[in-house]
């Protein structure tokens, strides 16, 4: 492979950025529509209740109201769900969480719709709610669903746990608690649906999975899939939270009911109540090690609260389980993860998908173990990190990219020494801590895990990239354009992505799981090769030169005698003939049966991992317990940088989220039985909460099967942050906090 790349590895300018900085970019709620009316959702004020009756008459009679829809009115499938179909689009007989949609009001104005919501009379009979997964799994607990409160259970073992602990010189046991947090993307959920004269419906979504939205709407409306067109608008952030149905079904129902265009936009309050969060979990962790630091045994029981409906709970449970041994070699392992229903708001996909939870436990534990063994945390980690050729407890063999781990530790060691020399501000206590991270890529074995994309070579020589998966703001389009441009030897400016439209785009499946650069990149490289092949075949015919004598480089067909003809020449002649150069390629995540262990549940194992480390320096006010993150270094191996600014942006944003997870964010139930539901009480980091000193160290240890060697980066940046901060706080004041967020209240309690 050529060493000098044309665009891969550089910072290019995102093509969508120009519209975003001028205010011209159109998110769902910005798109002008004709004769639009508005939907507002009647939501349950109770955590758990039977619905005895719904009376919509007063609402329907109100000024400006067009229709009020309840579950009975849904013509097709009334229940949906990404993994388990357990979630009613509108409540049926029971509401299982506060904020659950019960009815949909459609009116001429937004105000009329919201006013009419208060006129819908619902006769509820409240039950005593359950908010804790352990309580929910008691044999006498009230069943939230007919099949009981256990959604999924994972039991993974390796080696002999009893012997492992028997041989250990030191055994530590601790319980860690991580909170429910909100993805808190800046654009709350929304959708617009338009009923078309031909009986089809067009839906605009801010969603990670427009093709699933298409299928969902079709099912709900009892329409063939071809009658539903879903268009991806510009997306204002998702972070996993838009992997569930984001109002597309309800908007579609609205459009069908009034035969017009209906817009539904969640308020931030509704977003907090009714949209998926990160799973809270209680993780009981027990580790055993020899005196010299060798890890021998790791046992864990994790209880996860998936809330009222399963959402992606089982899949999150899988990754939480798989990442509980972090980046380490542990010969004896026993892991049990239970995912339970409760009456809390839904938990589903959120960036990291189980790994931030597991890593808070395991990376805190590693520092605790180091302390008990009187070892430096770095030394303990060095002793146990995975090396190429090692087996994880899932029997997955780790490849060459694990070489990033010792490099992470080498860098970390130097940085820690440097940071330890910095004097704290007067009256403050300083501490330095680190954490490693391993994040899985892909959906897991035995789960369909592929992505399809299409290239179209236009007559002027530029290329249209029909991305089959949406760019949720992270820069997927730019990355895919750079890879395409590189593969075709064209300038980056000549490759343009087209916004996703199910009518025209291939199905690239869900944007998620740190897999998009990898899958999309490989797909467009293959599609590029096909395009080149098509070009050379046409050129061969037109030039009357045997195909094998022609070469292609940088947009030029090169003849045997060295003559160069621009590709556009051939493409435009082909276009004149009414034909096109189009190629479509699907890339599937490799889970080779020969080497991928098959004995684990569906979705396990994951076979490719990203690795990284973060080092945090904090200053703690010993009287107030407030924590300031003053310095942060992120070390991440991405295999190969495709977009430099894109990779940096993912890491920087991830760290901000990690700091929020560590110090500020928690969606709790207030005294009056109300959930926190606004940015006044749910605090995400502002610009003043980011470290003053920040550094990125990006490693490139090529992943052989990756596009130009690239791997994923989307999720891992917020995985090591919280444990690094927890470890730094311990270093500063000797207080170990085992639950997030690390608040002054918790620190002072232990300090005074």
């Amino acid at each position: 492979m050529a060493n000098e790349t044309r665009t891969v590895g550089k910072t290019e300018l995102r093509k969508d950025a120009w519209d975003k900085v001028t205010g011209a970019a159109q998110y769902v709620a910005d798109i002008p529509q004709e004769r639009m009316c508005y939907g507002a959702i009647v939501r349950s004020p109770h955590h758990f209740a039977r619905i005895n009756q719904i009376n919509t008459k007063a609402a329907e009679d109100a000024r400006g109201v067009l229709r009020v829809i309840i579950a009975d009115d849904i013509p097709g499938r009334k229940i949906h769900g990404p993994l388990v179909q357990d979630q009613p689009s509108l409540a049926i007989d029971v509401v299982r969480h506060m904020g659950e949609p019960v009815a949909l009001v459609i009116a001429e104005t937004r105000q009329a719709a919201r006013d009419a919501v208060t006129l819908v009379e619902v006769d509820y009979e409240p039950f005593v709610p359950i908010f804790d997964p352990i309580t929910a799994l008691q044999p006498d607990a009230k069943k939230l669903h007919t099949n009981g409160n256990l959604v999924a259970e994972f039991d993974v073992r390796d080696g002999d746990i009893e012997n492992g602990f028997a041989d250990a010189d030191v055994i530590l046991e601790e319980t860690f608690n991580v909170p429910r947090i909100s993805p808190a993307y800046m654009e709350p959920e929304n959708s617009v649906a338009r009923w078309n004269d031909d009986g089809s419906v067009t839906v605009w979504v801010s969603s990670q999975h427009p093709f699933t939205d298409q299928a969902d709407v079709a099912e709900a409306l009892n329409l063939p899939v071809e009658k539903v067109q879903v268009k991806s608008a510009v997306i204002g952030g998702a972070f996993g939270g838009k992997e569930d149905s984001t109002l597309a079904i309800l908007a579609g129902l609205g459009a069908w009911a009034v035969k017009r265009t209906v817009q539904i936009v969640n308020t931030r309050q509704e977003s907090f109540l009714a949209h998926p969060k990160r799973h809270p979990a209680q993780i009981q962790l027990k580790v055993g090690a020899k005196k010299d630091g060798t890890l021998l045994a790791l046992k864990a029981t994790a209880h996860m609260d998936t809330g009222a409906y399963a959402s992606l709970g089982p899949a999150v449970g899988i990754i939480l389980t798989e990442t509980l041994a972090g980046s380490y070699r542990v010969p004896n392992v026993e892991l049990k993860t239970l995912v339970a229903y409760t009456n809390s708001p839904l938990s589903g996909a959120m960036r990291g998908f189980g790994s931030p939870q597991s890593h808070f436990a395991v990376e805190s534990m590693m520092d605790m173990l180091a302390s008990a063994l009187n070892m430096e945390p770095i030394t303990l980690r060095r002793k146990n990190i995975l090396r190429p050729g090692d087996q994880m407890f899932t029997k997955v063999v780790v490849n060459q990219t694990a070489l990033s781990l010792p490099i992470c530790l080498d860098n970390a060691e130097e940085i820690i020494k440097r940071y330890q020399k910095i004097e704290p501000a007067p009256g403050k206590k300083a501490g330095v801590g680190m954490a490693l991270a391993a994040q899985s890529m892909g959906l897991g074995a035995k789960v369909p895990d592929d992505s399809t994309h299409r290239l179209e070579w236009l007559r002027d020589g530029s290329v249209l990239l029909h991305l089959g998966s949406p760019d949720m703001g992270q820069g997927l389009a730019m990355t895919a354009e750079q890879i395409t441009a590189e593969a075709l030897g064209l300038p980056y400016e000549m490759v343009k992505s087209v916004e996703l439209d199910t009518l025209k785009s291939p199905n690239g499946n869900v944007t998620c799981a740190s897999r998009m650069t990898y899958l999309t990149g490989n797909a467009v490289i293959n599609a590029s090769r096909q395009l080149i092949e098509q070009l050379l075949t046409e050129a061969s015919k037109m030039l009357n030169v045997p195909r094998e004598k022609l070469a292609y480089k940088d947009g030029l067909v090169i003849t045997p005698d060295g003559e160069k003809v621009v590709a556009a020449e051939f493409i435009s002649r082909v276009a004149d003939d009414g034909r096109q150069f189009i190629s479509e390629a699907t890339f599937s995540f490799p889970y080779p049966e020969e080497t991928t262990p098959q004995h684990l549940p569906i979705g396990m194992p994951h076979v490719m991992f990203c690795f990284g480390a973060q080092i945090a320096r904090v200053e703690v006010d010993p009287e107030l317990g407030t924590v300031d993150v003053t310095h942060m270094v992120a070390i991440h191996d991405v295999g190969k940088v495709i977009s430099r600014s894109g990779v940096e942006g993912q890491i920087e944003g991830g760290i901000a989220s990690g700091i929020g997870y560590a110090l500020y964010e928690s969606m709790v139930l207030k005294d009056q039985g109300q959930w926190i539901d606004s940015f006044t009480e749910y605090l995400i980091p502002t610009s003043k909460d980011m470290p003053e000193h920040y550094e990125n160290i990006i490693l490139e240890i090529p992943e052989a099967s990756g596009p130009y060697g690239a791997k994923g980066i989307g999720e891992i940046p917020l995985v090591p942050t919280a444990p690094a901060i927890a470890n730094a706080v311990y270093d500063a004041i000797g207080v170990r906090v085992n639950s997030l967020p690390i608040t002054p209240e918790k620190l002072i309690k232990d300090m005074i």
Binding site: L624, Y664, K670, T686, K688, D689, I748, K749
Partner: protein
């Protein structure tokens, strides 16, 4: 949002007449009213917009008394050279209000009228022994701020009355004034606890006057008489300041809520009290020299 009529007077006189005749509620910066209205916690059939009444926009000094008009925004207070020298704790408080967008709209009058125990301007003003000038169509009155604030969210404002200005005597001699706010995050922080102090030293360096106000630790912002009584006449040693700070715990009754716990508020109020006292002493001693 609920429906209401909107009246737009151009002068103070028109404003007073409008309030009297419509029985409506006054809106200035809107930063408290609008969110509360959206949540159904505030309602009015008529809103009277005070935002263009320039007569209520002033910061000046008359015969040793500093006057701040009700429509002065937090950012205007922060930018004021007069206040930086005469009421630095008020400026410190202004700097911690929300963010620049909120500071550009939120007014002194609004902050006081909202009467939140977490308000930023109230503790400094209480330690400045501020008075509030209230006007209405048929007259006016002057009332100490401490008496004007009745209970959380309630003031002594009568129907048709509005806050005209806040007035306090310029501090003389060897004085120090300090404000500290403890929030849950560095940006856009709402108080977990806040504290303001004014200390005046006599020529011998003993404490002649001590005024300590603590916020977010009781239904209203409190002046800590326990701390103040302990300080008067004493030499401002760290030991005395510490004792006084600890004594302030007797005057407060914090609660646990979504933002923090009773225990933590009690603990951190004492810490903040000690810190503002220490800072004020340093300022005052600087003036003695």
């Amino acid at each position: 949002m609920q429906e209401f009529n909107f009246v737009m007077p151009q002068t103070l006189n028109e404003l007073m007449i409008a309030l009297d005749e419509t029985g409506g509620r006054l809106v200035a910066g809107g930063t408290d009213i609008i969110p509360r209205m959206r949540r159904g916690l505030f309602s009015a059939a008529t809103l009277v917009d005070a935002s263009r009444i320039d007569e209520l926009r002033f910061i000046d000094e008359q015969e040793g008394r500093i006057r701040i008009g009700a429509l002065v925004t937090h950012q205007e207070m922060v930018n004021s050279a007069l206040l930086k020298s005469a009421a630095p704790s008020l400026v410190q408080a202004g700097e911690t209000v929300g963010c620049i967008q909120t500071r550009n709209r939120g007014t002194l009058g609004g902050n006081i009228a909202n009467a939140s125990p977490a308000a930023d301007t109230i503790p400094p003003l209480l330690t400045l022994n501020a008075e509030v000038r209230l006007v209405h169509r048929h007259g006016e009155r002057l009332i100490p701020l401490a008496e004007f604030l009745v209970s959380p969210g309630r003031t002594d404002l009568a129907p048709g009355e509005l806050i005209h200005s806040v007035i306090f005597e310029r501090l003389l001699g060897a004085w120090g004034a300090s404000y500290l706010k403890l929030g849950k995050r560095n940006g856009m922080a709402i108080s977990v606890v806040n504290a303001a102090v004014v200390l005046v030293l006599d020529s011998a360096g003993s404490i002649q006057d001590a005024r300590l106000a603590l916020g977010s630790v009781a239904p209203t912002v409190v002046r800590s008489s326990s701390a103040e009584e302990m300080l008067i006449g004493q030499e401002p040693t760290p030991k005395i300041l510490n004792q006084a700070a600890e004594a302030s715990a007797e005057d407060i009754s914090p609660i646990s809520d979504v933002r923090s716990t009773k225990e933590y508020r009690l603990h951190s109020a004492v810490v903040l009290a000690r810190r503002v006292l220490t800072e004020a002493v340093a300022q005052a001693e600087g003036k003695l020299a």
